[in-house]
Symmetry: C2
Subunit: 186 residues, 2 copies
DNA sequence: ACCGTTGGAGAACGTGCGTTCTCCGACTGG
DNA sequence: CCAGTCGGAGAACGCACGTTCTCCAACGGT
């Protein structure tokens, strides 16, 4: 197993375990077992758990950005592209093991003690809102709508987490649709 | 210091520290220092940290329910009572040291490992949504609106947390106002 | 074949923390 | 004044975990 493979396996294992149980609840031994990478090698690649946390969050950030962009760009009209964000959420919430947004969860757990984690979370959420803003602009709606839709989306993420239901995505979509309809079109 | 006083001081200290730093980041020694209650006494009152966590969350639940009810009931019209929820949020977000909703944060940190914490969080959020539903009903709007407003509120709570701004409350209020206006009145 | 490097398995170390224990002073009822 | 109880301060214990170290097998170049 070369360096790159080991790194990927570590990030895979860390990301999965952190998401399932929370970051602080996962020990380095658990990551070693799940990844099959020895502790020695792990610490050669990531000098500390903190580095691994940040790497896992950064990769998840990229993955989600790409997936969301692909999902929304597939819709035919500008309005549908905006609403596709909420269809994406519904698919996500329906996946087994959905436990909320990893960034919101990480911020809740470590935002107060790790500035690096806090920064990654802020960047991810900013990118999400920016993407929404671009879709809103394409649809010819006022920029203020983007922030409102972002609130609906983030609210749906947390609500779906503790209710264990995908329904918040539908509620958010309905609200988004109404806001879209009543926002002054270009 | 009698039993009741010690209990209150413990809950005060625990609630404050948990909120500031996250639950797992706070040791029992820190609670002892902040409360002035000895460890021995603490463990007589709360047999474990888990008990103290639950007590702190339960008291915060009651406090917030009461404060929100008082805040919303002060508004003169049914519509204003609904929007008062978002004024309440703006006041809350503007307080120094605002770090998000303690229930959302606790769920992110412990929801996966502590069913008791998860239940308290669910109950709190359910009560919040129920309150919103009552206000929506008074205003003669359809029940589905309550879930949508709850999403806006929860989304604003998390967004205000990592942006460190109270602006999400204003965005949420604007969206709520529009949804309220376009929802079919009774 | 020999030697130096690499990496694996897991023990070991240090620390922090939840919880309990020890010791001792302070108060109470008679 | 005394016996008994209570509570405080903080040491001690046990465990978990992040990190490092030890030991050894495998491998590659000459």
């Amino acid at each position: 197993m070369d360096h790159t493979t080991a790194e990927i396996r570590l990030i895979d294992a860390a990301d999965t375990l952190f998401y399932e149980r929370g970051i602080q609840a996962v020990g380095m031994d658990a990551i070693r077992s799940a990844s099959g990478v020895s502790l020695k090698r792990t610490y050669q690649i990531f000098p500390s758990k903190e580095h691994l946390i940040e790497a896992a969050l950064r990769r998840r950030d990229e993955t989600i950005r790409d997936a969301l962009a692909a999902y929304t760009s597939a819709a035919p009209t500008p309005e549908e592209r905006v609403l596709a964000v909420f269809d994406y959420l519904r698919d996500w919430f329906g996946q087994p093991g959905y436990r909320g947004c990893a960034f919101i969860n990480s911020f809740a757990e470590l935002g107060a003690t790790s500035p690096a984690v806090a920064d990654i979370v802020r960047a991810h959420k900013q990118a999400f809102t920016d993407h929404l803003a671009a879709l809103v602009a394409e649809a010819g709606r006022p920029p203020a709508l983007a922030a409102q839709l972002a609130l609906l989306a983030n609210g749906a993420m947390v609500t779906a987490a503790f209710t264990g239901s995908a329904e918040p995505a539908l509620d958010a979509r309905a609200a988004a649709s109404r806001l879209l309809d009543t926002a002054s079109a270009a």
